[in-house]
Amino acid sequence: MKKIYYLLLAFALVLPFSCSKPGSDNSGSDEVKMTDPATKEVATVITFPADKTPELVAKKERVRVKKFEFTEASRYIMTFEPATKASDEEVLVGTYTYKDGVYTLSGIGSVKVSGNNVTVTPASGEAQSVTATVVPTKTSTDAQANASRTWKVNTVIVGLVGGNTNVEKKFNGCNLEEISNYAKANGVPFSDEEMNSFKGAVLNEIILTGASTFILSFGNGEDCLTGIYSISYGNVFKYKLDQGNIADNGSIEFPSNSKCKLVIHNKATFKGTEYNGTLEFDLSEKK
């Protein structure tokens, strides 16, 4: 899932106006205090002991759940590994509802929490009770409280500066297929295999949580870039993605209620030239 960063490199190939003609203000917007997201009061992280992981069916296979995070904005983030084979840890994102201590995960099952006693009931299967570490999520700053929700991508501006290149291109939504088609139409030598990998890859949601989790969720949530983030003074947004050891910073601001502008930077080297890539997301809160 380094697709986005691969595309950044692709832009280095295609868009340089190498001898071309003749270009935002991240002023503080942390004064905006948004209305609370739907499940802020029940946001929780549940971590299971390594030897007592409950089993569920996810992505059409039996999996061992290592961690549940229930976000402030009705999303669960389930970290798991396949139960039947050795494989890397994976993440699944979906929606949940909460009532009377029970989190109901769409299509997965339910999780009942009573203190540290957690009962996981698969959609079809027997309930499993486990003693786990249960930590209610609390946001530490107003900026994090504003950020900690599920965001829909309205537009993304892909920017690249480096070598003789200084270019920005704006796209509606964040459809990697569309972006890669544009790149290929302008000369990026994507192979058919690479083009296929972008097919249907739509960044549907960006999820930020009070537990500092940062998720870029593609498609129906089965394909995610995961990481952590922090917001420091001056609306500086620092992030680190688990995949590809990508870490950098950017900025975040909240122009109005339910609106967010998230800018993330990343350096990339291509053919010996270092490029500064920028992804500038215009986001609306997903209720």
Partner: protein, 247 residues
């Protein structure tokens, strides 16, 4: 001598607060216009008017050469360009100060009011870019901010200046001259203000985010001329005026 002195005194004393009015056309660096004039005292006459540069918009096709991307050559050899000088025109209020009321020489001071644009240019890149690139594709030099076309494929550049420009100068002639039906006056002076040039990036804002253009932003490809232009503190103003005595 006594008669002459009495005559001059009469000429001077005839010019009292708003007791006469002249009106007439003007032509000058600021284009064509119209002004009205009235006396305040024997030593001071006020003028107010409006002028507009004609033609209001000039059109040309310019050759900017070609620009090479890794896969695509942008042909900028026939780019339709339109330029407007002082778009919207200029309003003005001027005071003519006659040290010797019976002699045409005078000092002049006042204010010009305008849109804040000394000139406004627009380059039509609608046939160079594809429609999906209008207001979505921005580019710039290595270290400069990026500019884009607007939603119609036009790249816009403005030479901005203050909305209110002080004027000082000298002139010859009486705008209000009750001795003659028609009088001709001449103004020569300077408008005080510095120009700065800017373009726009329409990616984030349909109205365009202003982008300062200076020599550094252009990687000095303008040979420093823009920075020199920005340092000029005054702009010349020459005008010829014809006034008709109304009363």
């Amino acid at each position: 001598m006594v008669a002459l002195s009495l005559s001059l005194m009469g000429f001077a004393q005839d010019k009292q607060l708003f007791n006469h009015l002249s009106i007439g056309p003007t032509i000058g660096v600021d284009g064509i216009g119209i002004e009205v004039a009235t006396p305040v005292t024997p030593y001071v006459q006020l003028r107010a008017g409006y002028s507009i540069f004609v033609p209001t918009t000039m059109h040309a096709t310019l050759n900017f050469g070609t620009y090479q991307t890794s896969s695509r050559t942008l042909d900028l050899s026939n780019v339709p360009v339109s330029i407007g000088v002082m778009p919207g025109g200029l309003g003005k209020i001027l005071a003519d100060i006659y040290p010797w009321p019976n002699i045409p020489f005078h000092f002049a001071a006042g204010l010009f009011f305008g849109s804040g644009k000394w000139a406004s240019g627009s380059a039509d890149l609608s046939k160079v870019l594809t429609p999906d690139e209008y207001a979505t594709l921005a580019f710039g030099f290595n270290n400069g901010a990026t500019i884009s076309s607007d939603k119609n494929g036009f790249v816009n550049i403005d030479a901005k200046i203050g909305n209110v420009l002080p004027y000082i100068g000298i002139g010859f002639g009486h705008a209000v001259n009750t001795d003659q039906l028609v009088s001709v006056t001449f103004d020569m002076g300077v408008l005080i203000g510095k120009v700065h040039t800017q373009s726009y990036n329409y990616i984030r804002d349909e109205a365009g985010t202003p982008v300062d253009l200076n020599s550094a932003a252009l990687d000095n490809k303008d040979k420093g001329y823009l920075d020199i232009l920005h340092k000029i503190p005054v702009y010349p103003m020459l005008k010829l005026n014809v006034f008709f005595n109304v009363f």
